[in-house]
């Protein structure tokens, strides 16, 4: 029995980055990929080509990935390595990216497994042909610090004026109302931006909103969405984002063109 399992330290596995049509093999030459064991290479399927790399199985087990997912530097390294290969391939031919950490026991297994999925890959290639993915993030300024305590002259704190309690409550109530109004306006801006961008996109998806540590202290993210946009409408999108920013007063960040990661799955 010569079966090689992942428990053997010298066993290999095959990491798959993407599936594409007619790649130029030189597109991935020299890319590091996810390991130094072997170069990134192409693996011919029947009508498609997989972009693969031979890795040490023991470094790509579930346990290894769980550890990686908990270590930001490792995670960043692998995410960027995966993305770099996908982006390089997509720059030369129509490409369906696979999610990070798609692994098979051997190249033969990749052939078998992916050949069964050929229809889905062809459908995905068709869906994203002549399209790119664009991310749109909308931010509004975060609430200024509560000024309800500073609206009167800071008089002698030890002796509050008559009615000071009531006035304090009124100010608090006013601040609360202003905050709610700002939130409503922010959400309306987000919905307006999403609706307008969707009108020129082929498909759209909402992503989770970023928290304050990613968005920054001075602004609140109110929309994080991504759109599949036809190539010939990319310029229109740029202009639209600019116009929407001016009209809504919100800060709009456009990122792209991306390989349509978010639109190759079942939408």
């Amino acid at each position: 029995m010569t079966e090689r399992g992942p428990e053997r330290s010298d066993a290999n596995a095959t990491y798959v980055f993407a599936v594409c049509r007619n790649p130029d093999p030189s597109a991935v030459a020299g890319l590091p990929g996810v390991t130094d064991k072997a170069p990134v290479s192409t693996l011919s399927l029947e009508t498609l080509t997989a972009i693969v790399q031979t890795v040490r199985a023991c470094e790509f087990t579930n346990e290894a990935w769980q550890a990686r997912l908990c270590d930001q530097r490792q995670l960043e390294r692998y995410a960027r390595a995966h993305h770099d290969v996908v982006a390089a391939v997509a720059a030369c031919c129509p490409t369906v990216p696979l999610p990070m950490a798609t692994l098979y026991q051997s190249e033969e297994r990749v052939r078998d497994a992916l050949a069964n999925e050929a229809d889905r890959f062809h459908a995905a290639l068709k869906r994203i042909a002549h399209h790119a993915e664009w991310g749109v993030k909308v931010y509004v300024p975060s609430c200024p610090p509560d000024d309800s305590n500073r609206s009167t002259t800071p008089a002698d704190r030890s002796r509050p004026a008559p009615g000071a309690g009531l006035a304090y409550l009124d100010r608090k109530r006013g601040a609360q109302e202003r905050r709610e109004r700002r939130q409503d306006e922010a959400l309306q801006a987000a919905e307006a931006v999403d609706a307008e961008v969707r009108s020129l996109a082929t498909a759209s998806r909402r992503l989770r909103l970023h928290g304050p540590q990613l968005a920054g202290e001075r602004r609140v993210q109110v929309l994080n969405a991504t759109y599949l946009v036809a190539e010939h409408r990319a310029a229109e999108l740029t202009l639209l984002a600019q116009a929407l920013g001016e009209r809504t007063g919100a800060q709009i960040e456009l990122s792209g063109p991306w390989v349509p990661y978010s639109f190759v799955g079942e939408v």
């Binding site: 596995a13 769980q66 997509a90 970023h210 799955g265």
Partner: protein, 111 residues
Amino acid sequence: MSDVDFRERFSPVSGPQTTNLADILERVLDKGIVIAGDIKIDLLDIELLTIRLRLFVASVDTAKKAGIDWWETDPALSSRASRSALQEENRALRERLEALETHTKDALPKR
């Protein structure tokens, strides 16, 4: 249509010039085409993971400088931490249950 025709009309997409890590992660980890690999990688907690990741992805540099490593003991990010957190919770609940049972027994009116 031949593939050659297709390639001639194909304009390359390579990704934006500036790619921040959060943007990449929410694409490479998130919903793509679902293909079952041979080696089962359990990314079930990815939803939670990315939510938490954003908190530090935001400030990778500052986090690095500050040596922040709270996620290593965060149950959502570490299966080991998750197990021990569950065990700890289980133990605390058992203790509480025991205490309550004893208390109820003592408090029951004697008939």
